[in-house]
């Protein structure tokens, strides 16, 4: 496809710990097209964040290492690139914002300094011009009084405001892809909506693609065009957002969708909010076969024998399940 921006193929990012290898990401395929918003969902510890950080090579190596796979950015594999080449892609082409706005900004520099640092570096501007650019970015993300606020320190901003600063910083070089790693998880519910709204607005303005990592299916339904569901380091289902919600194929996806609280169903007493029994298996010594088998109510003998590959069940809808 000509307009594929990012194409992750069979990525394995493992971590060496004292007792062996943690297979945090264990064969992930994922692609993002130009201008598209793709959701990556799954429970905590399923490898979403490691996948996201792998794209920008923000994994500490050691203990982490790329065991296999490719990360193709506009057709060019990022894995063999050295630091210097990676630094030309970071922020300028792919930017990232993190879950914790409270800790993602360096407390000892003003927010203006931190935004201007990126602008000055990638756009070769003088410090003064870069600072003006930083104020302009703060204005774009709707921070009141930006000319004055650039000189404030992160601790003078609230959580939601800091996430706006992070977005301003991420977008200051007009990247083609914004990776948002649970950008609203740490925020109050009302602020969450504002941040999602802001990301929408910015996407319209800059036309970048977004990889939205979240564990909230509701957020996915509202914002994404396509969804990738991850479980225990692997992709279990991938589909356009309507198809996924209308016809979830993988038992894990079905469980995730059923666990969304819904006003229209909660009226009846019988329909209790469902949860998925059990916990994510150890990624240190993952079970043979389908990793969801132990928690799956449809599990059969063949499920524990081999790992089912992703197969296409409808156009753009692929599932890793024997059912």
């Amino acid at each position: 496809m000509a307009d594929t921006l990012l194409d992750i193929r069979g990525l394995k990012t493992w971590f060496k710990v004292e007792d062996g290898m943690v297979r945090a990401v264990d064969g992930v395929d994922l692609h993002i097209d130009r201008g598209e918003t793709v959701g990556v969902v799954g429970e905590s510890g399923c490898g979403k964040t490691v996948t996201a950080r792998s794209v920008l090579k923000l994994i500490d190596m050691p203990p982490g290492r790329f065991e296999a796979g490719q990360i193709l950015w506009q057709g060019r594999d990022l894995i063999p690139l050295d630091q210097g080449e990676m630094n030309k892609i970071r922020a300028r082409e792919i930017a990232i914002i993190f879950q914790e706005p409270m800790t993602s900004l360096n407390p000892v520099y003003t927010v203006g300094d931190q935004i201007a640092e990126v602008i000055a570096l990638h756009q070769k501007l003088s410090p003064k011009q870069a600072m003006a650019g930083a104020a302009e970015m703060l204005r774009l993300v709707n921070i009141p009084n930006p000319q004055k606020r650039v000189h404030d320190y992160p601790h003078q901003f609230s959580g939601g405001m800091r996430q706006r600063v992070m977005i301003a910083m991420a977008l200051s070089c007009q990247p083609k892809l914004l990776i948002a790693d649970e950008p609203t998880t740490a925020l109050d519910v009302t602020i969450q909506a504002q941040i999602l709204e802001l990301m929408h607005e910015m996407k319209d303005k800059f036309g970048m693609a977004i990889m939205l990592i979240t564990h909230a299916m509701g957020v996915v339904a509202e914002t994404c065009q396509r969804v990738t569901v991850m479980y225990a380091g692997k992709v279990v289902e991938e589909a356009p957002v309507e198809a996924l919600f209308a016809d979830p194929r993988h038992p894990y996806t079905q469980g995730l969708i059923r666990s969304i609280p819904r006003i229209d169903r909660a009226v009846s007493r019988q329909a209790r909010l469902e949860s998925i029994q059990g916990t994510v298996p150890s990624l240190l010594n993952p079970p043979a076969g389908c990793r969801f088998a132990a928690r799956c109510k449809y599990a059969m003998d063949i499920c524990t024998q081999g790992i089912p590959p992703l197969k296409e069940v409808a156009p753009g809808h692929r599932v890793a399940c024997v059912l």
């Binding site: 630091q83 630094n87 993602s104 000892v108 990126v118 320190y153 910083m169």
Partner: protein, 320 residues
């Protein structure tokens, strides 16, 4: 950084100084017998001097009054008379203090300029060969008692190699460059002994502080911005890692003064450390008290400076 913060720190330092003076006085007051009893047996001291001293220290007043007398005398610089050196204690200490401060200052500079780069390099590649060597040497430096390092250096550089003098001389018969050259030459060993002991501790502080900072989210943010690794380390890791290290350096100060006393004694550097030992061995109580008081004040003063530096390094602090 604002003036209010500095004033607040100064106001906090005053009770510490008072507390320390209470402890010092307490030790003196609790000491069995008359601290000036020794003077009675010393034929060089006329009894009227001893009586004057007793009266000045008001040895028969209630304890709190004696403390107030003692403390106001200390604050006014009226520290008594040294029978050993036959001069006022304050003048004697002021005479000796600069040498001590120069030796301590130079050794701290040496320690900091060695320890910070080494600690940072060790931490950015933890468990690497460099880290293991650096950590082992830091541990050795940290475990070597200053008096033993001093003797070993004398053995190697003065006795075996005959490169450096092992006795510090205040009266050097030279002028111009040669004068400074001799001074530097005789200062090398004391400064190195004191500096290396500090560097060992400091490398460990710096390494663990960098290790703590390097995994924080904002460092990942900095990396994601595409700034080079060097700049990430210097601007976003080292700058932040220094904040707790400043406090730790301040906490080390009492140990630094302890090391200085031993070092001065070994190399016979004419500072307040060797003066303290000489005074103790000669039962020169006013000098002992004066020096202990001065060192306590210096520790409080440097702690205050460290606090102010801390506020300057960490913008969150001065806003609180």
């Amino acid at each position: 950084m604002n003036r209010q913060y500095i004033i607040r720190r100064i106001l906090i330092a005053i009770p510490s100084l008072l507390g320390i003076s209470v402890i010092l006085f307490g030790v003196l007051a609790m000491a069995p017998g008359d601290p000036f009893e020794e003077l009675a047996t010393n034929p060089a001291i006329p009894p009227e001097v001893r009586m004057a001293l007793r009266a000045k220290f008001g040895l028969d007043d209630p304890v709190w009054q004696r403390y107030l007398h003692w403390f106001s005398a200390m604050v006014q610089g009226d520290w008594g008379f040294s029978f050993q050196s036959r001069m006022d204690v304050d003048r004697l200490i002021l005479q000796r203090l600069p040498v001590t401060l120069i030796v301590i200052g130079a050794s701290q500079l040496l320690a900091i300029s060695v320890a910070i780069p080494v600690g940072v390099l060790a931490a950015i590649k933890p468990y690497s060969i460099f880290d293991q060597i650096a950590s082992t040497f830091a541990m050795i430096g940290f475990s070597l008692p200053t008096f033993f390092t001093g003797l070993v250096l004398i053995l190697v550089f003065s006795i075996q190699l005959d490169w450096l003098p092992f006795v510090y001389r205040a009266d050097i018969n030279a002028t111009g460059w040669a004068f400074y050259g001799e001074h530097i030459k005789q200062s090398i060993m004391p400064v190195v002994v004191l500096g290396l002991a500090q560097a060992g501790t400091l490398v460990r502080f710096m390494r663990s502080s960098v290790l703590d900072v390097i995994r924080l989210d904002y460092v990942t943010t900095a990396r994601s911005k595409g700034i080079g690794e060097r700049k990430v380390i210097v601007r976003h890791v080292v700058r932040n890692a220094l904040i707790p290290v400043v406090t730790l350096i301040a906490l080390q100060l009492p140990a630094v003064f302890g090391g200085a006393i031993v070092t001065e004694q070994i190399f016979r550097v004419p500072g307040i450390g060797s003066l303290l030992i000489a005074a103790i061995l000669a039962n020169d109580t006013p000098v002992v008290m004066g020096i202990t008081f001065v060192i306590s004040c210096l520790v409080v003063l440097f702690n205050l400076i460290a606090d102010i530096l801390y506020g300057w390094l960490d913008p969150r602090i001065s806003f609180r």
